[in-house]
Symmetry: none
Subunit: 404 residues, 2 copies
């Protein structure tokens, strides 16, 4: 992670204003026809101009070879190490579906699974049941009441869902009930520390009820729970970086992660285009010195495997970019949280094209446009995403010199 102790020591409350524009899953791979990636193929005169004038490089989201989810990838861009900061999977999943997790709440990931007549697991993913069918089963689970706690459930993709428990005296230190193999019974929820006994008991009661209401609902006739977690109480941007930050994002997950690190969440509408989002940035620009703006569709079209549609999203962003440029941010960073090449239809580990434009403080390099290959020889080199915030602060002249 970014060295927070050092950041706390060196960060100044005064300095330039920063925009971090994240195109989710921006990085791509070349298509066969012309050997261009999505970003290279896109017509992006504005970003190309910024690349010619500023610094470019490649961001490594978590570690080389690691394809991250958007939760840990965003935490990394914000300077936080998801492992170091013990942000549990349950919390990240909950944010992913817009379920809030307070400091007294416990969230966990759930899988629908298949068990045989004797209760032995035969499929840990319920035949990868469709998202729609899983949502129907989730309605059954929502009928379960456990005295003393409120339970919120939300579908993720296919067989995955999220459960959040709210009540008094809950502890996140409950071990997984998923044995990770078929041919065994689900594990009973066990406390990882003595004070989690009560929570484990509640989880076991709920699972017992779940098994009852799912009886006969093959292939989804059981649930497996893992990644119990509560609010990780992350250090906040105000404290660590002395920034007054805001988030402009449409999807709940990104608002959730931003809230975790202390950002104000600017209201958006689900149908907002990148141009709409940029106008929202402009609307609140005078109030903040750091704005994170998130564009989701690059990732979605990459996941769809639709190369041309991803190119089109990038072009839409480029076309709307003058709205941000007109604000004259001291530092504008354009990057992605990870790569989602259309040829892969999935998140990958490939380092992500990154552009840093900070007139007067950036080091110009030889890049002539914004794209993967141009970024390879850029001034920023290849760097870990957790180093992005110190770089942003430095270029905004918001860091004191370290040592004499």
């Amino acid at each position: 992670m970014a060295n927070f102790e050092l950041m706390r020591e060196l960060a100044r409350a005064e300095g330039g204003k920063i925009i971090l524009l994240v195109m989710d899953g921006l990085g791509g791979l070349p298509r066969d026809s012309d050997h261009q990636t999505e970003l290279e193929a896109a017509n992006t005169p504005n970003m190309d101009q910024l690349a010619r004038e500023g610094s470019v490089g490649l961001s490594i989201p978590i570690a080389r070879g690691i394809a991250p989810g958007s939760g840990p990838a965003h935490l990394a861009m914000f300077g936080y190490d998801a492992i170091e900061h013990n942000v549990g999977r349950g919390v990240l999943s909950a944010f992913g579906v817009g379920v809030p997790v307070g400091e007294h709440d416990v969230a966990a990931r759930g899988n629908f699974a298949t068990v045989d007549a004797s209760g032995i697991i035969t499929d840990r993913r319920a035949g990868r049941i469709s998202t729609e069918k899983a949502a129907e089963r989730l309605e059954l689970l929502k009928t379960i009441k456990i005295p003393g706690v409120e339970i919120e459930l939300a579908s993720e993709k296919e067989y995955r869902f999220v459960m959040a428990m709210r009540g008094d005296g809950l502890s996140p230190h409950v071990l997984d009930t998923d044995p990770q193999v078929t041919g065994k019974h689900p594990l009973s929820a066990e406390p990882g520390v003595p004070k989690a006994r009560h929570t484990a008991d509640l989880v076991n009661q709920w699972i017992a009820e779940a098994a009852k209401v799912l009886k006969g609902q093959e292939p989804a006739n059981m649930v497996l729970m893992r990644g119990f977690a509560s609010d990780p109480k992350l250090p906040k941007f105000q404290d660590v970086y002395k920034l007054n930050p805001a988030c402009v994002a449409v999807y709940p997950m990104y608002k959730g992660v931003s809230q975790l690190v202390g950002m104000d969440i600017i209201a958006t509408k689900s149908e907002d285009t990148p141009a709409d989002e940029f106008r929202r940035v402009a609307d609140v620009w005078s109030k903040y010195d750091f704005i994170f703006c998130h564009v989701k569709a690059t990732d979605s079209r990459g996941e769809d495997g639709d190369f041309d549609a991803k190119v089109a999203v990038i072009e839409t962003v480029d076309k709307a970019l003058p709205t941000l440029l007109d604000l004259k941010p001291d530092v504008l960073i354009i990057t992605g949280d990870h790569s989602t090449p259309a040829t892969f239809k999935a998140h990958t580990w490939h380092p992500v094209p990154t552009l840093l434009y900070a007139p007067g403080t950036h080091m110009p390099d030889r890049a002539q446009s914004f794209g993967e290959r141009e970024c390879m020889g850029g001034a920023l080199g290849q760097f870990y995403a957790v180093d992005l915030m110190p770089m942003a602060l430095a270029h905004a002249r918001r860091l004191e010199k370290y040592g004499a």
Copy 2:
């Protein structure tokens, strides 16, 4: 930091001879007229030739985005992490102004500050009082005598100064008296460990006297002390790298840091030019297998904001370089401890051009000259300064193979 355990295991006492030539603050940024940096604009036929034949790359002094002082930056080039090795700010500041700190001494940084009639801090930096005015106030402080200890004081820049205490039974474990905010009284110096009680008492006595002699000297009518530290007793080059090292430097700070890591200090004169320094390297070349040679003026001219003068210093170094080349070092590294772009008039975080010339062991790349942009695509890539020493030793064939 460089992995000292590994270095101790792998370093051999035999092998090639190394020169580390450091041009302080070498890295720069482009000027408007021709978009060239200082190093790119300089006429450097010798270094360009070495760049064509050898390896180049960019050194990250401490961490991305961090603009270091020369103290921690030099420690990093020598393989030491200033944080990890707990080299206190007081010691680094003391070295910065040429105040020696022995293992029984304690040094601290001081700020002149402003307090109101009731002793509440109203300005932690005494209105950023000028260096000259601060020096006058320091003369008042020099009149203070505390029985049992000798006190040395030296001006840093503006409101900053250094205090070193020498006496029996001193401990560096004294907490800061700077509360870091205005609107409060200065803190009393408290011991961080019981045995530091005596030192804290002495510090409090001194501060009480300081308040008396500074009475009426607004805006500098109080002192705030922080970063108490003593000699960090760093592992020595002989022990870690099995090198017999020497330092040729003119400024006290660099001699001080070199002494901390076990280098012999070669006598120099304050008026020595780079050519003079190189001749001193030649004079002692037969006695050492590692010589660190430090040129200060690149940084000074960068701090002045004098682009052309910094270019001229680089050209002077290049012209004198044959004196070093004639020694036929097995490894010659030319780098800087950090960047000091003339356009910034200050240390910055930008990675520093680095050249490694080791015929027979270096990997030639495509660089055609020595400059920031050429270094971006070089064989050394972007690397952390703490990795420079392992690279130097490797190219000098002074490291055994690791593992079977």
